[in-house]
């Protein structure tokens, strides 16, 4: 095997509890995050890598519960022959002394917490330049020291850092500090970055691996890690994406028009098939215009499909309801019901009213429609 090979990952955010998801999926999401450690060691083993570099935010908070961090260390210890190199990120910055003190004290021999910015020779001829994040919002570029750091002649220089790249943005807004050309000016062969939860190639030597297990609809698909091979000093790194995520996150926008058969459109757009849907989390963002009956159908279709998925959410905040005369006829062709329906419709179309009031009127009209339709059926 030529060159030096390792796994680049970050942002496991162990200890995140997903309280915003329904209870049914919550436990599975938590469990999947822990399982990401095993996925990473499997990825290392399968790709002949002896090292896993975690570019920050291994833990979600500075004080994870004992269960979280001890089980994490145990899982890493179980990965025989693999060296774990960890830097504190902004979520678990090195100011979390208790965490890192304990972690260091109880770390198995193959786990290395790099909370000091100093070069470490992690393998013969391969020097790691870790930039631990000193506090939650450091406000400075922690990688600057790499420029002046001397390493033995002919050794590989691998940067490990966490944070947003200036002009590229960060996971948490306003935390961009790392200069985009750090890999160049610090003569790095590779700069392994964390913070961004999705994969991103900033430069040929500067990459975000993303989280091995996705945690929100911002970054879609399954989580990955990167298998990186450095052929030699100065040579371009070879980077392979390896899927590690269990859950497939999908954020789908559904554009509708009154002519659409909305329920059908929804069914067509739903991802995955059969058993795979159990591990799929979907957010359908419906938008456009839709008629009252379709709207009812759409809600029913979503309701029907929902149990197949790990999680299915239909957001219709952007979806506007168009009301045709025949829709009102469906409610009643005349009389009091018709009067009520028309009053609501008028409110819904009344530009003088606030958006919220109009939305309420639309909702009331929709409700009336479904009452009457359900009664009829």
């Amino acid at each position: 095997m030529a060159g030096f090979r390792f796994i680049h990952s970050s942002d496991l955010h162990l200890g995140r509890r997903f309280g915003n998801f329904p209870e049914g999926i919550r436990g599975r999401l938590v469990e999947a995050r822990h399982a990401a450690i095993d996925s990473l060691s499997a990825a290392a083993r399968n790709n002949g890598a002896g090292h896993v570099l975690i570019a920050g935010d291994l833990f979600d908070t500075e004080t994870p519960s004992d269960r979280v961090w001890r089980q994490a260390l145990a899982a890493m210890a179980a990965a025989e022959g693999i060296q774990w190199w960890i830097i504190p990120g902004n979520h678990d910055s090195s100011s979390a002394e208790t965490l890192w003190d304990l972690a260091r004290a109880q770390a198995p021999v193959n786990v290395h917490v790099c909370d000091v910015a100093e070069p470490v020779e992690i393998a013969p001829g391969a020097v790691l330049l870790p930039s631990p994040v000193p506090s939650r919002s450091p406000g400075r570029d922690a990688t600057e020291w790499m420029v002046g750091c001397r390493t033995p002649e002919g050794a590989l220089r691998i940067g490990l850092a966490h944070g947003g790249i200036v002009t590229f943005g960060s996971e948490d807004d306003g935390a961009e500090t790392i200069t985009p050309n750090r890999a160049t000016d610090a003569r790095l062969d590779y700069l392994a970055l964390g913070d961004w939860h999705g994969f991103m190639r900033v430069g040929e030597r500067t990459l975000y691996s993303g989280s091995p297990e996705r945690d929100r609809f911002k970054h879609l698909g399954r989580g990955i890690c990167l298998a990186v091979t450095l052929p030699g000093p100065g040579a371009e790194p070879e980077v392979t994406e390896i899927v590690t995520g269990r859950f497939d996150w999908q954020d789908i926008s559904l554009e509708l028009t009154p002519k659409h058969a909305a329920a059908e459109a929804l069914e067509n757009i739903l991802p995955g098939k059969g058993a795979a849907r159990r591990d799929t989390l979907v957010r359908i963002r419906a938008s456009g215009w839709i008629r009252l009956p379709e709207r009812m159908e759409l809600a029913r279709a979503a309701q029907k499909a929902e149990p197949e998925f790990g999680y299915l959410e239909l957001t219709d905040a952007e979806l506007k309801t168009e009301c045709a005369p025949e829709d009102l006829d469906d409610i009643a062709s005349g009389g009091a019901l018709r009067m009520a329906a028309e009053a609501l419709y008028k409110d819904a179309e009344d530009d003088a009213k606030g958006a919220e009031d109009r939305a309420v009127a639309v909702a009331a009209l929709r409700r009336l429609y479904s009452y009457v339709r359900e009664e009829t059926q």
């Binding site: 200890g15 995140r16 509890r17 997903f18 309280g19 915003n20 998801f21 979600d60 908070t61 500075e62 004080t63 994870p64 519960s65 004992d66 979280v68 100011s95 979390a96 002394e97 208790t98 965490l99 304990l102 009643a332 062709s333 005349g334 009389g335 009091a336 019901l337 018709r338 009067m339 009520a340 329906a341 009053a343 609501l344 409110d347 939305a359 309420v360 009127a361 909702a363 009331a364 009209l365 929709r366 409700r367 009336l368 009452y371 009457v372 009664e375 009829t376």
Partner: protein
């Protein structure tokens, strides 16, 4: 639908089949006494239309005859031109049957037949004719029969045609019910979030999570601040324990100590130089003093010598002056003494001269005084005598008193005589004096009053006693005389004349005394004794001296002698003064001489042991000059030392600071270690609580809960909006919905109460109130008769509405007009007859008499 025939079998008393036939189109009346089965017919009719064949409920059971048997009812109806026979039989096994025949063949049976019946009772819009309209015996309460109300509702619905659509009808109710029941999940009746409902639950959840989040934020901040603090302390401790720093502190201390020692030594040598300079200065000053003293002693001794000599000369002069003064004083003393002697001699002479002069004067005076005294004593004696005389005389008042008494005697006597009998004798010639009165001859011719009678001795005749007649009133002269006599006696006189003399004498003596007294007064104003005193005071008589000069000469001599004496005294005084002064001058000069002599001796003292003052002075001068040079040198040395001296105080401060820095560092290290131990414990405990993990979780859940709450609030808002829209729409629809009923009802009402108006509740379609003459009367307080009539009219108007839709429904009245009196019944029947033009009305009544002549088709049970 119209009823044509009713047939009963095994219905209560009608075990054998009975029939009511020939029911006409309009008004039909079945009049029969009570207990003839009218109500049975009515109940049977109701059952055949509304009771399913497999029912065996209370109502159906009540139809069963005592004798047993299955109740069977059959009705012939005309519907849309066709004639149908409905025959229904019930039994206790719940499996009765129903058949419907038309034109002699079976049309429907079993369930289909029941459905068909239900259908014809439904509202026209639903496809069938309207149901029957029932008014039972004495029913005024329109609301107590659900079926009837439903029928009315359906009727009304059918009549109004569009009513279903208009009010939303059942669908409206259903929508409203769903809306309400869905809202009830969230809100209480009063519109508050309902406990246990999703809205309240989520509100609580958000509030709880919010609280929890705040608590955790506080905890997290505490932990973070403690971590920060621990980090700062650790850094500080590391700095403190840094060997370079420690070394630095120690080096600084050592240097400060060395600097301080050096400065101390320098300070000591400066001290010595200062001391030396001081010594030299004192020595120089002392030498200077010695020189000055010598200079002063030399000057002093020469001055003292000079003064001594001068003083001695002065003393000699003073002594000489004193001896001169003594001689002068002795001489003037002699002169003075002689002058004094002369004054004495001359004075004696003058005195004697004056004595002689006054003795002569005194002798003259004595003579004069003796004369005066003698005269005065004579006058005194005269006065005394006169005074004694005056005292012996009768005083004037007493005389006046006596005069008065005397006067009174005389007046009385005269008055008695005038009043009294008087006699006057005229003597016969020759007979003169032959008559004596009281012993005395009675004068011739003279009137003689005899107040007291009288005894007349008439010579030769005898005695004639004349007795007085009446005794006059008042004092009698005798009494007055007695008074006078007593007074005279008291005054010591014998008669009034003597009294007068006595008084006269007294007056004269008094005058004499006064004269004598006056003379004495002028002679010796101060009394005779005064004169005697003056006499006694006169000097003794002395013997005359010869050769005495005159007083005047003696005075001149005396004057001269005195002047001489004064001059001699002045001379003496001057001599004595000079003597005193000379004496003082001697004393002064002696003293000065003594003091000069003392000074001279004292001035000589410093020179003891000095043989040659000038040589000594030269010596001393040299010594002073030498010492001054030495002092200048010492001063220079001291100045040099001072100029180069380091600041000892600053060195001491620096040393102290260096010390305290080292100590502080040690103390700080200990404090920090202690703080760190505390912090380690606290942080250890908190870190184990996974605060941040909890907080992150809570915040995520809080956000989710807020979103859920917002969704629910939106849902509640939408439901409320819907409910409001439905209620508004229904209310306005209902107002329109009641209209057709009123259109039918109003003409009927006018028929009974030309001015009245009826208010109908749109919800129940019940009459709510009757308005007569502007007064609104609630329906249930109207009289039974009125209620009954209105109820009937309402039904009739419903029936009319139904008829107008092309369907007719029989109106069946079972003794419906029991409260109405006969007059009203006629009225009512007019109404019925009028209505019956469009409607089929069947009236059951027991009031044979009242109904007999009302017309209509009379029915019979046969």
């Amino acid at each position: 639908m119209k009823l044509r025939t009713i047939r009963l079998e095994n219905i209560r008393r009608f075990i054998d089949p009975v029939e009511i036939t020939g029911i006409g189109d309009g008004l039909n009346v079945l009049v029969a006494p009570n207990e003839h089965g009218k109500s049975t017919v009515f109940d049977a009719l109701h059952a055949v239309f509304f009771k399913q064949r497999n029912s065996w409920d209370k109502e159906v059971r009540s139809l069963k005859p005592h004798a047993g048997g299955d109740p069977t009812v059959a009705v012939e109806i005309e519907l849309a031109g066709g004639i149908y026979w409905i025959r229904k039989r019930w039994n206790s096994r719940n499996n009765g049957d129903v058949r419907i025949e038309t034109t002699g063949r079976l049309f429907k049976q079993a369930d289909e037949a029941e459905d068909w019946i239900a259908e014809i009772l439904k509202a026209p819009r639903e496809g069938g004719p309207a149901g029957l309209l029932w008014v039972r015996q004495g029913i005024t309460d329109l609301a107590n029969d659900d079926a009837a109300q439903l029928a009315r509702r359906d009727l009304l619905t059918s009549v109004a045609g569009e009513v279903e659509a208009m009010t939303g009808g059942r669908r409206m109710d259903a929508a409203m019910d769903r809306c309400r029941s869905e809202l009830e999940r969230y809100l209480t009746v009063k519109g508050r979030p309902k406990a246990g409902g999703p809205l309240k639950d989520w509100q609580d959840e958000v509030a709880d999570l919010d609280t929890e989040s705040k608590t955790l934020v506080a905890k997290s901040e505490k932990l973070r601040s403690e971590l920060d603090r621990r980090r700062a302390l650790r850094r500080e401790l590391a700095d403190l324990e840094n060997p370079n720093e420690e070394e630095g502190r120690k080096t600084r201390l050592a240097k400060a100590k060395a600097d301080h020692d050096k400065a101390s030594r320098h300070a000591e040598s400066l001290g010595r130089a200062t001391e030396h300079e001081h010594t030299k200065r004192i020595e120089a000053e002392r030498a200077k003093d010695r020189l000055t003293a010598l200079d002063r002693a030399i000057t002093e001794i020469s001055e003292a010598d000079r003064e001594d000599r001068t003083a001695k000369k002065e003393e000699q002069r003073a002594i000489k002056r004193l001896s001169l003064a003594e001689a002068a004083m002795s001489e003037s003393a002699n002169v003075h003494r002689s002058a004094l002697d002369r004054v004495k001699v001359v004075g004696d002479l003058l005195r004697r001269a004056r004595l002689a002069e006054s003795a002569a004067e005194a002798a003259r005076h004595r003579q004069d005084l003796v004369g005066k005294i003698n005269r005065a004593e004579a006058l005194q004696n005269r006065a005394n005598e006169a005074s004694a005389l005056a005292r012996r005389g009768l005083p004037e008042p007493e005389l006046a008193k006596l005069d008065k008494l005397d006067e009174s005697v005389r007046v009385l006597r005269r008055a008695r005589n005038l009043k009294a009998v008087a006699i006057a004798m005229t003597y016969a010639p020759g007979r003169l004096d032959s008559v004596s009165l009281d012993g005395r001859p009675l004068p011739e011719g003279k009137r003689m009053p005899i107040p007291d009678g009288a005894r007349l001795d008439i010579e030769a005749v005898g005695r004639l006693d004349i007795h007085p007649g009446q005794i006059p009133d008042g004092e009698t002269p005798a009494e007055a005389e007695a008074n006078l006599a007593r007074a005279l006696e008291d005054s010591g006189v014998s008669d009034i004349a003597e009294a007068r003399v006595s008084t006269q004498r007294r007056r004269e003596a008094e005058l004499d005394r006064r004269n004598a007294k006056a003379d004495l007064e002028s002679l010796a104003p101060d009394g005779i004794d005064e004169l005697r005193d003056q006499l006694a005071q006169l000097p003794e008589q002395i013997a005359d001296e010869d050769d005495l000069p005159t007083t005047k000469d003696a005075e001149q001599e005396d004057e001269k002698a005195r002047e001489a004496r004064d001059r001699a005294f002045e001379g003496y005084e001057a001599a004595r003064n000079e003597h005193s002064e000379a004496q003082a001058a001697v004393a002064r000069a002696g003293q000065a001489a003594e003091s000069a002599s003392t000074r001279k001796a004292r001035a000589a003292l410093p020179f003891s042991g000095i043989d040659d003052p000038e040589a000594e002075r030269t010596l001393r001068r040299k010594a002073l000059s030498r010492l001054r040079t030495e002092l200048a040198k010492a001063s220079r040395r001291r100045e040099e030392a001072a100029a180069t001296a380091p600041d000892l105080e600053a060195m001491a401060v620096a040393l102290e600071r260096a010390h305290s820095i080292v100590e502080e560092a040690e103390k700080r290290k200990q404090d920090i270690r202690l703080d760190l131990r505390t912090l380690d414990t606290s942080i250890g405990i908190q870190a184990g609580q996974a605060i941040d993990e909890d907080l992150a979780d809570i915040d995520v859940r809080l956000e989710a809960a807020r979103a859920s709450l917002a969704t629910i609030e939106f849902e509640v808002a939408a439901l409320k909006e819907l409910r409001a829209a439905l209620e508004t729409a229904r209310t306005s629809a209902r107002d329109r919905y009641v209209e057709p009923v009123m259109q039918e009802l109003v003409p009927l009402l006018r028929f009974f109460w030309p001015e009245a108006e009826l208010i109908v509740d749109p919800e129940t379609l019940m009459p709510k109130a009757l308005v007569r003459a502007g007064t609104e009367e609630a329906f249930d307080i109207l009289s039974k008769g009125t209620q009954e009539q209105i109820a009937l009219l309402v039904r009739l108007s419903f029936a009319r509405m139904l008829a107008k839709t092309g369907e007719t429904a029989p109106v069946i009245l079972d003794d419906a007009i029991v409260y109405t009196d006969d007059d009203r019944i006629e009225h009512m029947f007019d109404a019925l007859t009028r209505q019956a033009r469009d409607l089929q009305i069947v009236v059951f009544s027991c009031r044979q008499k009242a109904f007999r002549d009302l017309g209509g088709c009379n029915l019979h049970i046969s």
